[in-house]
């Protein structure tokens, strides 16, 4: 049988006090949870002495590598193009060029893959060193003794992969001593095939003055080649239809003078 509090005032007062207490307890619990949740990351950071140097450096360097690659792929493999045409606000390097009419172009960059590896290395090295210094500071804040060297970067572009190895011996000691010799970043990428195709197109352009893009289709199903003629230049955009990666470069080859060519004589 249900009790009716209205029938007994004493019971009614007790019930009200109990409700208030219950609300206070609930409020304290909620506030406690809120404080715990808001502080928990800081607590973790303050309490954790373990640092994962590999993921720290990877998170620090990888965006720089990706940004550099994006820039290189828009600009014909050059961070700062020196012999280029400007198209839609992008400076696109000539990888094969002639200043004369009626002649095939002269190869300007025969070792494209090695060149791009060097460009990545040069662009990423300052950031990589900054990242190592930041890592060292993080360790030092936690009472570790850290010994680092400037280090060196190895970039390797191969089929399906771009590997950036940061060779920076770092010794961290407190109670134990840990030595890290190499930090590796691996990106899945099909750019290697695009660079080799670009080299093949340069070969065609320097020999025949032009290239036949549909030839590549029968060998590389994932490859798409866009050829944009902007007299006297040609802009090639090679892309992988599966990964969406693109590489753009320019050539100037077998130039036909405008009209009857009287102005150019």
């Amino acid at each position: 049988m249900r009790k009716d509090y209205k029938e007994n005032p004493a019971l009614e007062n007790m019930g009200k006090r109990g409700q208030v207490s219950l609300f206070v307890i609930i409020a304290i619990v909620i506030i406690g949870i809120v404080i715990f949740v808001s502080l928990s990351p800081k607590i973790n950071i303050l309490q954790t002495s373990e640092v994962n140097p590999s993921s720290f450096l990877s998170n620090c360097i990888q965006p720089e590598v990706e940004d550099t690659l994006t820039l290189l792929n828009k600009q014909g493999g050059y961070v700062a193009p020196d012999n280029y045409l400007t198209y839609q606000d992008e400076n696109i390097q000539y990888l094969c060029y002639t200043s004369e009419n009626y002649l095939p172009c002269v190869v300007q960059q025969p070792l494209l893959v090695s060149h791009i590896e060097n460009e990545i290395k040069n662009a990423v090295t300052p950031k990589a060193r900054e990242c190592v210094n930041n890592l060292a500071k993080l360790y030092e804040k936690r009472g570790f003794d850290v010994s680092t060297t400037p280090g060196d970067i190895n970039v390797s572009i191969t089929s399906g992969k771009i590997a950036v190895d940061f060779l920076s011996p770092m010794t961290v000691s407190k109670e134990d001593t840990q030595t890290f010799r190499k930090f590796a970043i691996n990106l899945d990428s099909e750019l290697y095939d695009l660079y080799l195709t670009a080299t093949s197109i340069i070969q065609f352009e320097s020999t025949l003055g032009d290239s036949e893009t549909s030839l590549y289709i029968q060998y590389y199903p994932d490859l798409k080649i866009e050829k944009l003629r902007r007299s006297p230049d040609t802009i090639y955009t090679l892309s992988n239809v599966v990964t969406g990666e693109e590489f753009t470069f320019a050539t100037r080859s077998l130039v036909w003078p405008q009209g009857y060519g009287l102005d150019s004589q």
């Binding site: 060029y97 200043s99 002269v106 549909s214 798409k224 239809v241 599966v242 036909w256 009209g259």
Partner: protein, 513 residues
């Protein structure tokens, strides 16, 4: 004595003003030097001396004759590739090895990479083999790419059964790899038992591999394949065979699988893709269609052109601007284009601007229908005006010209004029050339009238010059020379001026006889 008054009327159509055609061809030749690096950063160019970058080498001769810019073969020892026509200094500065003739390192041979092959240099073969974790298997005696590819296609393939971590397991591979003489990414397979044309999922083998509902793609193959529980590829994906024991036991050729003779594009049940028919195995996320099993499906690579015609992947055709007619009546700014169907998209490639190139197209008959191929090639209009014979003019092996009967450009002994089929575009907004060229179509015609004894006039000579057709004919000559005279631009808009000027002047002459 007969007294006759002859009135001479001169009709003169002028498109430019009295500049001799050939006067423009003579201009001062600027002497050039071979420059190691130009001001704009280009390497090894024949340019005027003032365009050479300060401090770079320059020799007053052609680059072909210099030691530093001579073209040769550049060998990339890290990639194992060779590039011809590379200047010595460009090759060496970039870390390559330059030689005037193709070096022995650039010789090609057959590189066997598991069940694949590549016709490459030895250095390249070593690099590819190391990337794939294979031992180098190179044969320099193979003379052609075709025989190289054939040499691996004949390899026996089947189930290689071996013990691994106290389990009887299997790898689908070649007989050579199974023999233990070669290794794969997971290490050397030692003393495997090879079962030709048998799948690893075969129950008879008694391995830990069995059928699954997953699919995969195989490098170098077009289709979607079932994959067993050990990750080995099995037969072509066919959803009706998911529980078919026989289908999971023996290797079945693509020609004996589902949907033979069809592209099977976007088929949910059959993964027998055919690249030549316009389909290729791709991830279902890219295609946007889910197969019944697995993550891969035959993507449709074919296209539909702007006229609604179906085009096969790799097919190309011409799609010129409307004013590109081949009869000398090109509109200003009109251009030839080549269109290509690639991966389900029509890509447009413009031929050289100013009609320096034209698009040519032909069709090949294949079992799957006509396959068109197009290409941009040079517009051979340059020597049209120099032809004086109709036969030479219309020799399509040599030039792209047509013969215009009844009009001439100065030489009245020739009965016609040879003109470009597709007139070259002229830089008329920023050049003196246009006036020179267009002036060639200037034409004068003296019409003779005879006064009668009792008044009135009668046209007796060159009367056709007064007819409208005469003007039209000469305007055609004018248009066929280049962007001259009256006409439209490529979007069909007329110019601000009429494009020509007609002058009539009267000369009075009295002849006495």
């Amino acid at each position: 004595m007969k007294k006759e008054l002859v009135i001479v009327l001169m009709v003169f159509v002028s498109l430019a003003f009295g500049i001799n055609y050939y006067s423009g061809f003579t201009s001062a030749q600027t002497s050039t030097v071979c420059c190691e690096r130009t001001n704009s950063g280009a390497a090894c160019q024949n340019v005027p001396a003032d365009e050479c970058a300060p401090g770079s080498q320059q020799v007053p001769t052609s680059c072909d004759s210099t030691s530093f810019c001579r073209a040769g073969t550049c060998f990339d020892s890290s990639e194992g590739t060779c590039l011809d026509n590379t200047p010595q200094i460009v090759c060496n500065d970039n870390g390559g090895t330059w030689s005037e003739e193709s070096p022995p390192q650039c010789g090609l041979g057959c590189c066997v990479l598991g069940d694949q092959a590549a016709f490459v240099t030895l250095t390249r073969c070593k690099k590819l083999s190391s990337q794939l974790g294979l031992e180098t298997n190179y044969d320099s005696s193979v003379a052609s790419e075709l025989s190289c590819v054939q040499s691996v296609s004949n390899q026996d393939k089947g189930a290689c059964v071996f013990e691994s971590e106290f389990e009887r397991t299997c790898k689908f591979t070649t007989r050579a790899e199974c023999s233990g003489s070669t290794s794969d990414l997971n290490g050397t397979i030692a003393d495997g038992n090879f079962f030709k044309d048998t799948l690893c999922s075969s129950e008879e083998l008694g391995t830990n591999c069995g059928p699954s509902t997953k699919t995969t793609t195989i490098p170098g193959k077009d289709g979607v394949y079932w994959v067993d529980t050990c990750g080995n590829p099995a037969n072509i994906y066919d959803s009706s065979k998911v529980n078919d024991k026989e289908y999971w036991t023996n290797v079945r050729d693509e020609s004996e699988s589902c949907g033979v003779g069809s592209s099977n594009a976007e088929s949910k049940s059959c993964g027998n893709c055919n690249y030549l028919l316009g389909s290729y195995a791709r991830d279902k996320k890219i295609v946007g269609t889910n197969p019944t099993f697995g993550d891969f499906i035959c993507a449709d690579l074919n296209c539909v052109d702007e006229n609604g015609k179906k085009r096969l992947h790799g097919e190309s055709w011409c799609g010129n601007d409307p004013g590109f007619n081949g009869d000398g009546t090109n509109t200003v700014g009109s251009r030839a284009f080549r269109q290509i169907c690639i991966n389900g998209e029509v890509t447009v490639e413009a031929c050289e601007d100013l009609r320096a190139e034209v698009c040519v197209e032909d069709k090949i008959d294949t079992p799957n229908g006509a396959f068109s191929q197009a290409a941009c090639r040079v517009n051979r209009w340059q020597d049209c005006l120099a032809q004086t014979e109709q036969l030479d003019c219309e020799n399509s092996d040599r030039r792209d010209c047509f013969w215009k009967e009844g009009v001439n450009l100065g030489n009245e002994s020739i009965g016609g004029t040879c003109l470009p089929q597709d007139a070259p575009g002229l830089n008329f907004w920023n050049s003196e050339e246009t006036k020179t060229i267009c002036a060639q179509a200037n034409a004068g015609c003296i019409v003779t009238f005879e006064k009668g004894l009792f008044g009135g006039e009668k046209c007796v000579d060159n009367c056709e010059c007064l007819e409208e057709g005469w003007l039209d004919e000469h305007n055609l000559v004018c248009t066929a020379l280049g962007d001259c005279g009256p006409g439209l631009n490529w979007v069909g808009a007329e110019g601000f001026n009429e494009g020509f000027e007609k002058t009539l002047s009267k000369l009075d002459r009295v002849s006495n006889s």
